[in-house]
Structure formats: structure tokens, C-alpha cells
């Protein structure tokens, strides 16, 4: 009691003390100010984000610093104090760089495709986009309250069609590329077609010329070179869950709460997750740069964990 009284008394004696209430008032006011002024907006050298005034032109003339966090998945649980550790650290660093003569790009987007939203959708019928966007708004409010100096114009979510248009576009680039072991780089598949066509490169596994192959045969040949290719790869297939999953992972679980409970490992109804790996039409990309691509992609999903070399 006495403690409370003396604390209250000193509040009266010191109406301008830095208290939680004053901090809250100051923080809300400056967060509004920063948003209104675009304080953290970093100008680009050209284009729609080029400098809009003299101050921004001066900023764009400075050396750049691009500082980035691994972006979050917008979980429905929101943030706990462990999550922003890195975001605060990069913010402090970015602010220091701004004060030492740099044009600083610091922002944060959302990695928003993912299983939790889909499982929530299966359970509740809520479209994953609806729940995901609500989670993003919630998380944005939590992050804003920390005073992070992000260029908010540059934020996006990976589920935005404007964004995944380019994810798809890059996939097409990968699909339309092959690895030239002589040049040690990825090249357009059209270059390879030209080599086959001119006879500079022999058609593998065939004594016939490229011009003698039909469309399906050509597609098969090119499929052996593409950096993303479709093939029947053995995947771990679990009929009880209706899903397959990639190499060396635990089977998925139908019950999202089970995943967080240490005592219940995900399992299929029968306890063993099915059947040997089942050939299934799969898209695979080729991450290897050091040797020839194997003719079958079974190594992509090899379920054995070989002995690591001693």
C-alpha cells in the first residue's frame, strides 16, 4: 500500500516524468509523423520511386545500404517478444547507417503461402487468403508499434498476384534453361535447340537428326536438359492423408495442433506411412552444378539417409 501511495505521490510531484503513459503518447505521435512524412522512404535512382524533391535527390546521391530481414510467415498466433529480435537489430543498424551518410533500403514483406492457412481453411471453410490477410494486418500493427523504420511502400506479400506473377515468370525462365557444362552457366534452351538443329551437338540416345524427331521426342530430349523438368519421381505417398511429402521429412499431419505437441508425432492411421515411395508426376528443379544430371530423378527424393562419410 505505502509503495503505491508514494509512487502516486511522486507522479503528482513529477507530472512530466517519463512514464509508460508518456512513452505511449510520444510513440504513437512519432509513428504517425514518420508515416505521414515518409521518413523512411528510400529513393531509387530512377523509375516510379525516384527522388521527388531535393532532400531525396541528396539521399539518392549517397552510397547505398540494403539491409534485410528474413521475412515472417504471418501466423495467426501473432508475435511474441522473441520474433522481433532480428527486426530490431536490423532497424538499429539501418538507423545508424542513415546517420552515417547512407541511402538505406530497409523494409519487410510477408512470406504468406503455407500450410497453416490451408489447414485452417479445411477446418473452417475460411478462404486462406482471408485468414492470411487478416494475420498480416495484425502483424503489421504489432511491428508498427515497435517503431521499425521500414519503407512501407516496398512491402508486399508473396500471395499478391502482382508478386507471384514474377515467381511464375522466373519458374518459366528456369524451365526454359539448361546448364551448359562447358560455359559453366545456365543458358536459354533455345541455344541448345539451335545446337541440335545445326548438328553442332549430337542428339543424345539417338542416331537420328534433330529434324527427324517428332514433337514428343524433341520434348523428351529437352526435358533431360531443362533446369526444371517434370518426371515421375518416387515420392512418399500417404493415402490416408491424401498427400505426399518430399525427402527426409516426417509425414505431414492432418491435425495442425498435433504438430506443436511434443508427445504426438505425426502419423498415419496405420502407423506406418504407406507403401514404398510411389512414382508420381512431379516438378523438380536441378540444383546441382557439378556433374551431369542423372537420367532418373530418383535421387531427388531418395528416402534413404546414407551413412555420412566418416
Amino acid at each position: 500500500m505505502s509503495e503505491t501511495n508514494s509512487a502516486a505521490a511522486s507522479e503528482v510531484a513529477a507530472p512530466h516524468r517519463y512514464t509508460a503513459a508518456l512513452a505511449a503518447e510520444i510513440e504513437a505521435r512519432w509513428q504517425d509523423f514518420w508515416d505521414a512524412e515518409g521518413t523512411y522512404e528510400a529513393p531509387n535512382p530512377s523509375g516510379d520511386m525516384a527522388a521527388r524533391n531535393e532532400a531525396e535527390a541528396a539521399l539518392a546521391a549517397k552510397p547505398k545500404k540494403f539491409i534485410m530481414d528474413m521475412f515472417p510467415y504471418p501466423s495467426g498466433a501473432g508475435l511474441h517478444v522473441g520474433h522481433p529480435l532480428g527486426y530490431i537489430a536490423t532497424d538499429v543498424f539501418a538507423r545508424f547507417q542513415r546517420m552515417t551518410g547512407h541511402n538505406v533500403l530497409h523494409t519487410l514483406g510477408f512470406d504468406a503461402f503455407g500450410l497453416p492457412a490451408e489447414q485452417y481453411a479445411v477446418q473452417t471453410g475460411t478462404h486462406p487468403r482471408v485468414s492470411t490477410e487478416a494475420n498480416i494486418e495484425n502483424m503489421k500493427a504489432q511491428l508498427r508499434a515497435l517503431g521499425l523504420g521500414h519503407d512501407k511502400r516496398r512491402s508486399f506479400a508473396t500471395i499478391d498476384p502482382d508478386y507471384y506473377k514474377w515467381t511464375q515468370w522466373i519458374f518459366v525462365q528456369i524451365f526454359n534453361s539448361w546448364y551448359d557444362a562447358d560455359a559453366k552457366k545456365a543458358r536459354p534452351i533455345a541455344d541448345l535447340v539451335a545446337q541440335f538443329d545445326s548438328g553442332d551437338r549430337a542428339v543424345p540416345g539417338s542416331t537420328r537428326a534433330w529434324s527427324e524427331l517428332n514433337a514428343a521426342e524433341r520434348a523428351d530430349v529437352l526435358s533431360q536438359y531443362r533446369l526444371a523438368y517434370a518426371s515421375d519421381a518416387p515420392v512418399n505417398w500417404c493415402p490416408g492423408l491424401g498427400t505426399s511429402w518430399p525427402t527426409r521429412r516426417s509425414p505431414p499431419t492432418a491435425d495442425p495442433s498435433a504438430a506443436t505437441s511434443p508427445s504426438s508425432r505425426p502419423s498415419c492411421a496405420s502407423g506406418t506411412c504407406a507403401s514404398p515411395p510411389t512414382p508420381t508426376a512431379c516438378w523438380t528443379t536441378w540444383t546441382r552444378w557439378t556433374g551431369p544430371r542423372p537420367s532418373s530423378c530418383s535421387s531427388a527424393t531418395g528416402s534413404a539417409a546414407p551413412k555420412a562419410p566418416a
Binding site: 539521399l59 538499429v92 540444383t287
Partner: protein
């Protein structure tokens, strides 16, 4: 590296990541199918062959044939799954350990696969758990060559498992030409690799353990593939004009499930049920034709493979990224020949897959000329994790951490004793603390300072809500230095720099110098300590603070506590934001200590402490030390044999 075997100059080639333990290789294992086996197997068991090694067979050839038949009956998966039960058989032949010259028995065993590495291993049972289990089962010798850092000692016969940590020093590892003893693992690897290379016995190599990346999922909530199949089943990419291919609506988001035991089923994807979407007529350049869409979606990882590029030019709907913009933010430059994001911070748990995939996409885009940076990230930093105490009741269930009481070092929940352990923070562990709670109680600036002050950024640290108040008090003292708590008036005084007392200038410039270096090096905890020190100095000085000192203090803390810094900056009379102000620069004249304490030892015991200039010379310091009263008294007339001087901090006198 090569282990000579047999009489015809053959050698068993192995790939290893633990070449530092080569002196501990006491046997070898070949995959049963290894081609050398038939060549080297002798007609009879060598004299003294342990009966456990022979599997009860009359000759090595018979043993090998039987074991091969046994191994062939199992798939690779089973061979790996049966890892606990070690099987194998001696081939009857010995190889030579190239570094110790010892004869080591060669086994075949199914825990070594032909399709992995070279299909042969050198076994170091003391330092590899699988080799350890095998060696125990077959009574094979072990040699400890890495000194255990725990308390088990070096006698392997008393061990329950292998010691495989890298945090230790090498022992029992020398021959006439090379010694690894006393080196750490990394140092030993380098030395033995060099020795093997010069002797032509082995060579260093980088083995990429990369596999192709399975990139499709039978899920709804992912990017649809921009791929269609024609009536011949040939895959075609959609042209850019047809992108984005948006996710269609579906009635049911879940994949179809089947009888769990029915293996003769295959995945049915959610997208495949929207027939109108799947079957389309498109003109891909040779007139309208019927196509069927790919109905898998991309994995979670796809969207994070290139997001750094979108930040640069987020509104661009014409191209991936404007080349001039990409070059400005990410292009190569001096000191960054491959370009990339200057600093990328995240958890170590993403260190492998996300970074591998992101680099893969980035390298293709670079090769095809779409971007100028050969690498996406110039510098990666893995921050530590904030841990939290988990309290569990007698059944092991977590109880709400906030309601646990501590009495005499023990913990109770609703009167019942509970156990405390350090773990992760999370809702399910009932120990989550939200930033919103801490902001309500103290403010965001306090939360920021506390998180940054908890320890070095790369080290995991336990959260302690009760300790947060320490940073709150720092901000209260900072505020009080500048603002009168009863009137709200700013109390700073205008004083010419020359009139500020020297002690304050020294404290100020030392802080500026230290904080600048710390912030640049991501050492935020020590930066806060230095700001606290300056703040305390000014509090103790008790007079009104000179305006120029207060302003620099505010600028120092601005990156860490930006809201209170903005407010104080405004109160100090500025109309602009603190965000783009220049960070203070230290005056070197005030950074150097005016004196340092020099310790004078006689026969290793401290006899005197001297205050001397940091730039004092060895000769001068020796003179001052020998003339010091306490030193003269301690020597008591004894002659001097030697004086060792390490200016400015140490003088060591050896009397005659």
C-alpha cells in the same frame, strides 16, 4: 584418400570429412557390392582371425558370398532403417593405414552403400557413432585421437558411445613426419590434408551434398505452375502475357484422402477438381488448341527465392526489376565483387534450404542476364534466439509461466511445486510474452533497448520480464537530464565547448567513439552499456547539462530508442527529424585516456601501481618504476638481474 590393400598395388579410396581422425582409423568397411572385394579376398582366413569376424564360414569367399546374398535381399531403405543392428563380415584382407602404417582389417557391411561416396569408408569407431556400434559388435579396436571435452577420459573401453564433437584437441596423432597433437579439429584437418597431398596419398575436395529439388506439392495454397500440357502430354510454359496465372476458387481445399492401406492410389490435387480451370483452349502461338493445366502448386519456398529483388522495384509490372535500380542497390562494387544485399539477418534454422534455393534462382537469373549481382546476399548474420523458462507440473504439462511464484529458489503454481527449464517461447508452452504487453507496461523504446541489451546478438538469451525495468530507468534518467519533471521545461544550458569540464568531454567522446564502433559491428549490447555510462556520468555531475552534450547524447541513442530521441530532439529546439541527422564524431584528443595504471611486479608479486601516460616509452617507464618509493622499499637494496617492461601497463622486476 587411399589405403593400400592386397599385393597388387590396389588401394581403397575413401571420402571423409574427418581426415583429422585418420590416426584413429582402426578398420575399414566396403559396400558388399564394392568391386575390389572379389579381387582381394584371400583363399583362407588369416591366422588368428576372430571367430565373430568370420560369421562362422569356412573361407572368406564363402562368407562374402553369403553376406552379399543377405544384403541383396534388402532395399537401401531397409539397409538404412536397420541401422541399429550391425551386420557385416571380414573379407580376410588387411589394408594399410597410410599415416600410422598399421594393418587394419577390411569388412563388408550393408551400412555402407555403393551409391554414396566411394562405397568405402575408413572407420574411426572412437569418434563416429555408427562405427562405434559396429566396432563393439565385432570386437574391433578403437583409438581415441580427439581428447573428449567431457569427463569420460581417453580409455575407450569405458565409453558408452563415440565422442564426435568438433570442440576438442587432437591426441595420439603423430608419426615421424607429421603431428596433429594439440591442434583443434579445423587445424588438424588442414595439416593432414596438406601432408596427404604432398605424399600423393589423398587430396582435398569439396563434395556438394546436393540433390535435385522436388518442387511440386499436392496443395491448394501455393503458386500455380505456369505450365500446360498439350494433347500429346508435352509441357508448355505460359507466355508472360498470360501471367499471373491466378489461383482459382475451389470448393474443397483439402487433398483427397483414401483408405490408408491402399497403396494403389495416387494424389488428387485440390486444383484438379476445378474442371473449368484445368481444361482450357489457349493460343500459344500456333492457333487455339486444347490444353490441360498443371494442378500441383509450388512449395512454400518458392516465394522466398527472389523477394530481395522485389523490394527494389515493387511496383514494376513490366519487368522483374529495372536494371538501373537493381544495379544501384545490389550490383557489384568495390569490396563486394558479387554484389547482393549488404546485410541479411535471420535465424540459423534457415541457413541451409532457403539460402540454397535463393542462391539457385539468383544464379540462373544472373546467368541469363536479368540481374547484375552474382550472389543474392553479401553478408549473412544469424541472430540468437530469445529463450524462455518453461514451467512444468508433475505430469510434465506446461503451466502459465506468468502465474508461477518463486519461493526460496523453488517454483510453485497454485501451491504445487513445478519444474523450471529453459526452452523456446510459445503459446503451447504457456510462456509467450507479447511485445504488446511490454509496450503497454514500459513503451516500445524500453522493449527495443532491453532486447538489444540482453547479450551479444548472435547468442541465445533467456527472456526475463522483471529485468526490462532496467532499460526503462535508463530512459527515465535520460529524460530527467534534459527535461524538468515538474515543469516540463528543458533544463540544458548553453555552454561554449571550451568551457565544458574536461571529465564530461572525455566521457562524451569516449562514448561516441565506442558506440560508433559498436553499432557498426552489430554489438548493440556494449553500445547500450557505453551510453548508460555516459548517462550516469551526467546524472552524477548533478548540474544542468550543456546543450551540445545533451544533443549528442540524444543522437547516440537515436538508433536504439528512436521515439524518445525524436521527442527530446524536438524539445531541444529542432524542427527536423532526428532520423537523418549526422551521427556524432569523437574528437580523438578526448578519447585517449590521460593516464593508465601500470602494475609493477617483483618476483611475480604486485608491489606498486603507477599512474602513467598511455604513450610512455619502455625506457621512461622502467626509470619511473625503479624510482618508485614502494619499489625501492620492496627491493630493499637487492640488485637487479632483469627488468621486463611492457609499456604502459606492466613492469616486471627480477632481483639478483
Amino acid at each position: 584418400m587411399n589405403f593400400p590393400v592386397g599385393t597388387e598395388g590396389d588401394a581403397i579410396t575413401v571420402f571423409t570429412t574427418r581426415q583429422d581422425t585418420l590416426f584413429g582409423a582402426t578398420y575399414m568397411v566396403l559396400a558388399p557390392e564394392h568391386e575390389l572385394v572379389d579381387k582381394v579376398v584371400p583363399a583362407a582366413w588369416p591366422e588368428g582371425t576372430h571367430e565373430v569376424w568370420t560369421g562362422g564360414h569356412a573361407t572368406p569367399a564363402e562368407a562374402v558370398a553369403k553376406y552379399r546374398a543377405f544384403a541383396a535381399s534388402k532395399s537401401d531403405v531397409e539397409r538404412q532403417a536397420d541401422a541399429k543392428e550391425k551386420t557385416g563380415v571380414f573379407t580376410g584382407v588387411y589394408a594399410t593405414n597410410p599415416v600410422s602404417g598399421e594393418q587394419v582389417p577390411v569388412f563388408i557391411a550393408d551400412y555402407v552403400l555403393m551409391g554414396y561416396g566411394t562405397g568405402a569408408i575408413m572407420a574411426v569407431p572412437a569418434h563416429d557413432s555408427r562405427d562405434f556400434a559396429f566396432a563393439r559388435a565385432f570386437h574391433l579396436p578403437m583409438r581415441c585421437v580427439v581428447e573428449p571435452s567431457d569427463d569420460r577420459g581417453t580409455d575407450t573401453t569405458t565409453w558408452d558411445d563415440a565422442f564426435s564433437s568438433y570442440e576438442a584437441k587432437l591426441i595420439n596423432s603423430s608419426n615421424e613426419e607429421v603431428s596433429l597433437d594439440g591442434l583443434d579439429v579445423a587445424g588438424a584437418k588442414a595439416r593432414i590434408t596438406g601432408w596427404l597431398a604432398t605424399r600423393g596419398i589423398g587430396e582435398g575436395t569439396v563434395n556438394f551434398r546436393l540433390r535435385d529439388w522436388l518442387f511440386s506439392r499436392q496443395r491448394y495454397w501455393g503458386e500455380p505452375f505456369p505450365i500446360v500440357y498439350d494433347e500429346d502430354g508435352i509441357a508448355h510454359a505460359l507466355p508472360e502475357s498470360m501471367l499471373p496465372l491466378e489461383l482459382p476458387e475451389v470448393d474443397d481445399y483439402s487433398p483427397r484422402t483414401f483408405d490408408p492401406d491402399d497403396a494403389n492410389t495416387s494424389p488428387e490435387t485440390p486444383l484438379s477438381r476445378n474442371e473449368d480451370w484445368v481444361n482450357v483452349t489457349l493460343d500459344l502461338g500456333d492457333g487455339p488448341k486444347k490444353y490441360r493445366r498443371e494442378t500441383n502448386t509450388m512449395p512454400n519456398w518458392a516465394g522466398s527465392c527472389w523477394y530481395e529483388l522485389r523490394y527494389l522495384d515493387p511496383g514494376n509490372d513490366q519487368r522483374l526489376v529495372d536494371p538501373a535500380v537493381e544495379q544501384y542497390w545490389m550490383g557489384p562494387r568495390e569490396g563486394q565483387p558479387t554484389g547482393g544485399v549488404d546485410l541479411y539477418v535471420g535465424g540459423a534454422e534457415h541457413a541451409v534450404l532457403h539460402l540454397l534455393y535463393a542462391r539457385f534462382w539468383s544464379k540462373i537469373l544472373f546467368d541469363l542476364g536479368h540481374i547484375s549481382s552474382a550472389e543474392p546476399f553479401h553478408k549473412l548474420y544469424n541472430q540468437g534466439m530469445i529463450q524462455a523458462y518453461v514451467y512444468r507440473d508433475s505430469r510434465g504439462f506446461p503451466v502459465p509461466a506468468a502465474e508461477v511464484e518463486e519461493r526460496d529458489g523453488k517454483f510453485f503454481f497454485e501451491g504445487e511445486p513445478v519444474k523450471r527449464e529453459l526452452g523456446k517461447m510459445g503459446k503451447s508452452l504457456k510462456n509467450a510474452v507479447t511485445p504488446d504487453e511490454i509496450c503497454d507496461e514500459y513503451g516500445a523504446d524500453t522493449l527495443r533497448l532491453y532486447e538489444m541489451a540482453m547479450g551479444p546478438l548472435d547468442v541465445s538469451r533467456p527472456w526475463d520480464t522483471r529485468a526490462v525495468v532496467g532499460q526503462y530507468r535508463l530512459l527515465q534518467r535520460l529524460w530527467r537530464l534534459i527535461v524538468d519533471e515538474s515543469t516540463g521545461e528543458v533544463t540544458v544550458v548553453d555552454v561554449a565547448e571550451a568551457d565544458i569540464d574536461e571529465a564530461t568531454l572525455r566521457a562524451l567522446h569516449k562514448a561516441i567513439d565506442g558506440v560508433r564502433q559498436d553499432l557498426d559491428g552489430l554489438r548493440f549490447n556494449t553500445a547500450i552499456a557505453k551510453i548508460t555510462e555516459l548517462n550516469n556520468h551526467l546524472t552524477k555531475a548533478a548540474g544542468p547539462v550543456p546543450r551540445s552534450v545533451a544533443e549528442r547524447l540524444v543522437l547516440l541513442i537515436a538508433p536504439l530508442a528512436p521515439h524518445v530521441a525524436e521527442e527530446l530532439w524536438r524539445k531541444l529546439g529542432h524542427t527536423d527529424s532526428v532520423v537523418h541527422q549526422d551521427f556524432p564524431v569523437a574528437d580523438p584528443a578526448f578519447v585517449v585516456d590521460e593516464s593508465v595504471t601500470c602494475v609493477v611486479q617483483i618476483k611475480g608479486k604486485v608491489k606498486a601501481r603507477l599512474e602513467v601516460s598511455p604513450s610512455i616509452s619502455d625506457e621512461e617507464l622502467e626509470k619511473v618504476a625503479l624510482a618508485d618509493e614502494k619499489v625501492v622499499a620492496a627491493l630493499d637494496g637487492a640488485g637487479i638481474r632483469k627488468v621486463i617492461v611492457r609499456a604502459p601497463k606492466l613492469v616486471n622486476i627480477v632481483p639478483a
